[in-house]
């Protein structure tokens, strides 16, 4: 069989619900097997349906246990769940011990759950190099929700934000001043915060510190999932504690689109579900630009080991998804992701093909040697390779 045939055969099995084919496909994309690109081509049209939820936070915060509980909760709501858990690779041997399954005992034999452990393989953003493709295959297989658990994250493992539609940052009590230390790191990327192990002393304080940080609005410019920060003021609490705004805001805004400018009171009256703050934002901006509607990340207390707060967490995640869809962010995100994906592939393929041609011609080695001996600078070397070997 050719590469294409092998990929087509595996994809047919995968599309028919064969979990072993799904597992093998994941291995292909992880290993960069020769069938991987053909498989991803076939799978792509079936992607774009799952809600991808990132779970991140420092090591020992209880991410795996929370993911296990969350998977159970989502199953009880009739949703199918895939779990991707990333653990570090040894920088010395290239090996890894992937232990996230130890905490995921409750759903292991449930046919509505599929769990895969990935080693980071030297990649530093909190994920593994192929996590995006793995999520794509799980999406194509038809899972409703894909939970992606990052490696224990510190300050800059923020890649999950680009992969997940909704990012849940898990913290634990007693971090105290450490919250201050990491507030410019992963705390910026949370759409939902879970203070896990909330039965421990200090949970209230940790929650209030995060709330305060969110209210300070230091988060900078609004990102795709963010809320607008009003100049000199607190960010509006549109979807705050109840986060019920998700369902109503979009409707209200569509109505506003047609009717133009209104006072805050009129706007609030126009939409039953719309919170006053969301109406205030819409009125303030004077338009019904969906980007102006805000999501204030809720902060929850959870005790993953006995399931406390997990149902509320599942509610908030679903509300965030509704918010993305209602406000046009889901669509905007699809376009952004598509552009980034195409750009990344072009960069990767151009680089690989160009370098391969330069190697075959002997230019690559010659130029690299000259750069090493300081006879040539790397900019000129790259320029020469591109001039002579880029393109057909």
């Amino acid at each position: 069989m050719t590469v294409q045939q092998r990929a087509a055969e595996l994809f047919a099995r995968l599309a028919a619900g064969d979990r072993r084919a799904l597992a093998r496909g994941i291995t292909w994309v992880e290993n960069g097997a020769e069938e991987a690109t053909a498989l991803m081509r076939l799978a792509y049209p079936r992607t774009g349906r799952a809600h991808v939820v990132g779970i991140t936070g420092p090591p020992g915060a209880g991410k795996s246990t929370l993911v296990d509980r969350l998977a159970m909760e989502l199953r009880s709501r009739g949703q199918t769940v895939a779990i991707v858990a990333v653990d570090p690779t040894s920088p010395f041997s290239g090996g890894a011990i992937l232990g996230d399954r130890i905490r995921m005992q409750r759903t292991l034999t449930d046919p509505g759950v599929f769990m895969r452990s990935l080693a980071a393989r030297g990649h530093l953003g909190g994920l593994s190099p192929a996590t995006g493709e793995v999520v794509g295959l799980l999406d194509a297989f038809g899972f409703d929700v894909i939970l992606v658990e990052t490696v224990g994250a510190g300050q800059s493992e923020v890649e999950i934000m680009a992969l997940a539609h909704t990012t849940c940052v898990v913290v634990i009590p007693g971090m105290g001043d450490e919250i201050q230390a990491i507030k410019a790191g992963i705390l910026e990327i949370g759409d939902v915060f879970a203070c896990n192990k909330a039965d421990r002393e200090g949970a209230e304080r940790t929650v209030s510190e995060i709330e305060m940080m969110l209210d300070l609005g230091h988060m900078g410019k609004p990102g795709i999932n963010r809320w607008p920060v009003e100049p000199g003021g607190a960010p509006p609490k549109a979807a705050g504690a109840g986060a019920g705004a998700g369902a109503g805001v979009g409707d209200a805004l569509r109505r506003l689109d047609r009717t133009g400018h209104h006072s805050a009171e009129e706007l609030a009256g126009a939409a039953g579900h719309m919170t006053h703050a969301a109406a205030h934002v819409a009125a303030r901006h004077g338009t019904a630009n969906p980007g102006d509607v805000s999501w204030r990340p809720p902060v929850l207390k959870t005790v993953a080991k006995d399931g406390q707060g997990v149902s509320a967490l599942a509610d908030r995640l679903a509300e965030h998804l509704a918010f993305l869809k209602e406000t046009g962010r889901w669509e905007a995100r699809r376009e952004q992701d598509a552009a980034l994906r195409v750009q990344a592939l072009v960069s990767e393929w151009v680089a690989r093909a160009t370098l391969a041609r330069a190697r075959a011609a002997g230019d690559y080695e010659r130029l690299v040697r000259q750069v090493a001996e300081r006879q040539l600078d790397p900019y000129s070397a790259a320029d020469e390779i591109l001039k002579n070997h880029w393109g057909r």
Partner: protein
Amino acid sequence: MEAVSTRKIRVLVAKLGLDAHDRGAKVVARAYRDAGFEVIYTGLYQRPEAVAAAAIQEDVDVVAISSLAGAHGVLIPQLIQLLREQGADDILILAGGIIPEDEVPALLEAGVSRVFGPGSDLDEIIEYTKVNVKR
């Protein structure tokens, strides 16, 4: 355009049944890691069904079962049967721990490739695994 292949051997290190002793399993897991393998460790008290599900979802090349409590004669053949039923017959099955000599032939008969007793050399386990991985 194809990606650059980076094949890693994936091993599931498993404990079956009511067997609380996982020091050996951890030592072997660590040795595999240091040899550059990716090791999935499931923790204690696993049912054969859970280990089979994990082996399939993780698409491992090897399942290494550590047994120190005497139930291997029943649980390991059950596991192998489950894997075969689900089409996962290309997985190398290894066993280790306290397994009496006279019970080894039955395990080999059931589909275990090799049984490593106490005092086995870690390098030998790794070398055997590398050479005998089926795909």
